[in-house]
Amino acid sequence: MSILIDKDTRVIVQGLGRDGSFHAAQMLEYGTNVVGGVHPGRGGETESGFPVFNDCRAAVESTGADCSVLFVPAGFAADAIMEAADAGIGLVVAISEGIPVLDMTRVTEVLQRKGTRLVGPNCPGLISPGRCKVGIMPGAIFEEGRIGVVSRSGTLTYQVVRHVTDSDLGQSTAVGMGGDPVTGLGFIDYLELFEKDDQTEAVVLVGEIGGTAEERAAEFVKASMSKPVVSFIVGRTAPPGKRMGHAGAIISGGSGTAEAKVAALTENDVPVADTTEQIVQLLQDELGGR
């Protein structure tokens, strides 16, 4: 199996602008079961072979979708996430970047009440190689396999995945949780899912400066995980107080540093790679020739 998505996942695409349309086609090509799209004012049309609806509720009623992927501009994205939750979608993947953080605090509160899970925002999405891709990552660099990958980044995830693929270990599911201060699911949620997933034998956790999610994940690994977890942390060279691209990647008041994260991971017996190449070596060490 995999986590969160598999070949039976029924996906709708919210926001069929330039990016949304392009990636809807890419996802279809990968084999994802894209069953519909939502774009206000385009209800009744067909795109790439799937029907388009004006709103989420109509889309879900007609297609039985259980997952939505969002390409809605930042100013409307928070509303679109809540619309998906209201329509009964169980998993929302928000690619959109630049959503105000207070909007996200409201959204996560609403989603918790609805029981909807959120990946992102400001993320590349997730992929269970060979079965389903819900996001914008290049499918070709992934390969079905044994490693779960969870990361706060996009292209860095690709870099890490490339090594894992080249080593023939492959991925069960790879997910970018998003680079914002407030995201839906966090490291611990994904680690819990990977721990329960039969296909996953080990996990790579890719963290970065800002917040204390990696520190808390490290404690979780030690306390609650039987599967090996290895890690990689970026931002060792980042100056304090500067936002490094991602809204969440900022060292403030001495907290959120790479050093603190590396220390916490090491303390909790989670090996930390110095370079992306080293990640594979650490995985092989942990798996011990299995």
Binding site: P100, T155, L156, T212, G254
Partner: protein, 383 residues
């Protein structure tokens, strides 16, 4: 986006939080006039976007308008942690009996705003959190309901037994929340929240950091930005769709994606070199963006070599290569260049570069090592 004290106080005042009725000035002359107008003694305060200005000598008491002028001329132009003082706030001095703390920030773990109050104000709250964490009380704010009056009252009565002072404080806490919410702040802080000799409660200092992502819906606040020299370059980059932070090394980096950009900087340091910058060009292969990014790197006199690290995802490598060739055709680059290009359509991408006389590598470490070699050999050392 950080605001200076005088701006934050303006927003506080707009929300009904009591503040000293002072004025912002930019010359010593104006400081004297203002001191004369509001009545001495006054406090002359450097306006900089950093903490610790009191210790640095950026806050001075003045007993007369002449002294205010004297103090102002001493503080103006002062360098406080790399921030040059251009503006001063002249506030009436008040008679203080106690210094407390109140602040709101977004707690990433709780995924909600959190209010913090403490009787230990007037010092760095992070220091209080480290040494005497029991002195800070936290209140999670429900993102949908906002701070409730009973919550504010509970916090306030934890600070004051006296009803009048507690209720005044509760009012300030409620207004601080309104201010935070209405401005889309990511931090709003009153430190110190002062208890005055006459029993009044007042915000003596003000700190607000606004959420950059929300500024599209606050044009009035967006205009308040007072960029530091570093930030001017960052803002220029941002206006061109680039995310840039200047550092002090000699290897200029151009990368697609924030995480990979940080990983690139870390790798350079790991190999013994020094990155000159963080630069994320995002997911576009638009030649103009590559040209803009190149210009930005070249404008840094410390840069001796440029390392381009692109992992083509949905952005295809052949598109990136075409953009790069076009960019190089328009620029007279006097620096050595190392390109690492991999991902979707990488073979076509490398062929396009090869035809233009540029060798690209596929491995990130190989690319970074090569850049290091060139840099230590002097690279494009410039006068």
């Amino acid at each position: 986006m950080k605001l200076e004290e005088f701006q934050a106080k303006k927003l506080f005042s707009r929300s009904g939080i009591p503040i000293p009725e002072g004025s912002m000035v930019t010359t010593a002359e104006e400081a004297r006039e203002t001191a004369g107008k509001i009545g001495c003694p006054v406090v002359v305060k450097a306006q900089v976007q950093t903490g610790g200005r009191g210790k640095a000598g950026g806050v001075k008491l003045a007993q007369s308008p002449e002294e205010a002028q004297q103090r102002a001329s001493e503080i103006l132009g002062m360098d406080i942690k790399g921030h040059k003082v251009k503006r001063l706030l002249v506030d009436p001095a008040v008679d203080i009996r106690g210094e407390l703390y109140a602040g709101i920030t977004v707690d990433r773990n709780k995924k909600a705003p959190v209010m913090m109050v403490s009787p230990a104000g007037g010092v760095d709250i992070e220091e209080v959190a480290r040494t005497t964490p029991e002195k800070i009380t936290f209140q999670r704010i429900d993102p949908l309901m906002g701070l409730q009056l009973f919550e504010a009252k509970r916090l306030a009565f934890g600070l004051f037994d006296e009803k009048k002072k507690a209720l005044a404080t509760a009012g300030i806490l409620t207004r601080l929340w309104s201010c935070f919410r209405d401005c889309d702040a990511s931090l709003a802080e009153i430190n110190p929240l002062a208890e005055l000799a006459d029993g009044g409660i007042i915000a003596l200092d003000a700190k607000i950091v606004l959420d950059d992502n929300a500024m599209y819906r606050h044009p009035d606040l967006k205009e308040m930005r007072l960029p530091t020299p570093d930030e001017e370059k960052e803002l220029l980059a941002k206006s061109k769709g680039l995310s840039y932070v200047q550092l002090e090394g000699e290897i200029g980096c151009m990368v697609n994606g924030a995480g990979l950009a940080m990983a690139t900087m870390d790798l350079i340091k790991h190999l013994g070199g020094r990155p000159a910058n963080f630069l994320d060009i995002g997911g576009s292969s638009n030649p103009q963006k590559v040209i803009d990014a190149m210009e930005l790197l070249v404008s840094d006199p410390n840069v001796r070599v440029i390392f381009i690290n692109v992992f083509g995802g949905i952005t295809r490598c052949d598109d990136v290569a075409n953009g790069l060739v076009e960019a190089l055709g328009q620029l007279e680059l006097d620096l050595p260049l190392v390109v690492r290009l991999t991902g979707t359509n990488e073979d076509q991408g490398r062929e396009i570069l090869a035809n233009a006389g540029i060798t690209a590598v596929t491995d990130m470490t190989e690319g970074a090592s090569k850049a290091l070699e060139l840099a230590s050999a002097g690279g494009g050392e410039r006068a």
